[in-house]
Symmetry: C2
Subunit: 296 residues, 2 copies
Amino acid sequence: MDFKEELKNYQRIVEDELNKYRRDKSCPEAMLNESMEYSLIAGGKKLRPILILSTYKLFKDDFNVCMPYAIAIEMIHNFSLIHDDLPAIDNDDFRHGKLTNHKKFNESTAILAGDGLMNYAYIVISEDLKNTVNKEILDLKLKVFNEFTVAVDRMIAGEYVDTEFERKPISSDYLEYMHKNKTGALIRLCVRIGAILGGATEEQLADLTLYAEKIGLAFQIKDDILSEEGDEAVTGKPVGNDREKHKCTYVTKYGLEEAKTILDKIILEAIEITNKHGDKGEFLKQLAIYIKERNK
Amino acid sequence: MDFKEELKNYQRIVEDELNKYRRDKSCPEAMLNESMEYSLIAGGKKLRPILILSTYKLFKDDFNVCMPYAIAIEMIHNFSLIHDDLPAIDNDDFRHGKLTNHKKFNESTAILAGDGLMNYAYIVISEDLKNTVNKEILDLKLKVFNEFTVAVDRMIAGEYVDTEFERKPISSDYLEYMHKNKTGALIRLCVRIGAILGGATEEQLADLTLYAEKIGLAFQIKDDILSEEGDEAVTGKPVGNDREKHKCTYVTKYGLEEAKTILDKIILEAIEITNKHGDKGEFLKQLAIYIKERNK
């Protein structure tokens, strides 16, 4: 399997699908819709929807049942990025090498675009639920919908803890709690959505949940490392930003080398889990390696 | 029927129910939870949940089926108030005679508290859907959930149009579009939720939807009138604020007297609709009159 090719293929699938969710540009709120699309459609790795699709793929051959949830999760992810970037929160001017939403548009539009994207995710889910005829599949989707809302709640809580403790020395317990919620909850959710809708057994679900928790943590540690030593032209984010802002991250807490050691260990544990799934687990295995080795 | 007594009774029912949705205060995000409750629990007329309950009451004697949606709508309403009050949007310091959320806490907390409340509404709905065994009722609820998400989308669009055109002269078409979405969509939704879950016929649903559209418009016009000539000590909002900010409202557009004439006419039309429902329609009739005559 050519992982890079497969990843691009997944990204294309997600982008094509997202294009079906474009919004009206002839209404009085046309600019709000522009701003929602500005963040949603272009840029980003689409990691979260790809996690749903590729986990689902362990069990099924088409994407029909899980696709609306892949779209909804990308909407939630982008809502959170827009609000995180706001002046009152992280005050970032660039994201994926482009101006952040409030810099491209304005602050009030960005607040409402974030609101609109979160709610759009629930429009997508509500339409899918309404149109699901098969009661057995509907029950799986209702379980997914409930887990979805709880994970978003955790993400918001994690973001709050991040802002609250940004300029204070915090214990490693708090650091872990923050990551587990801020980025971990959504990544965990994605893998679980793919597994639940794919029809995983309870044991398979528990197993894949563990994989998700490991790559979620790895993703955050790698983000922290890139923020310290990444290539600004590649990451699109200013290097050394976290340190200058006295932000608590794995790197500012443990130092660069120790953070890399922790990252290596976690990725190895994640790979062990995918190995149990044989050939079908190859993409998720390569994805774990990719999370560690990515340069943006 | 003593309307004021009945209204208070409904408010108590809603407040008792909201108290069941208090959040954890022993976690790292305790202050975020405080701030969500600060806006949700205390103050406010609880008009939207009461509209659900009282419309439902036209058809049924208990509130079991509709209660989660009454709670969810109050969460959505309060999310929208928190974000509307933000410095980048309306920049208001007081709401219901208390400090606004970002003044009581801080701006980043208020942004996340609004996000958290919107999502909390969907947690409530997802739990209710998951626990609904009766397939016929589940189908009604799935219809309601979908209408719910669409109405919230309209509310956000209306808020955007309001901010966008705040300092520009706008046509009465735009003014109407803004009101219809910003406040009208949610009020219309409430009445429809009560009717759909109560088991209204298509004709009854259409009829009640018309009632909702009329009181929704009336509610906004009355708000505009109170903003111009209300008692600041009673409304908790500075009088003449809209005019000073050159905000486009029914009063700044049509003048105070003409706005009152329009209000009277709309309320009469709403009452005509409730008259068709006989004695059972008495509360909704009195509610329409109350919307016109309230002083806060």
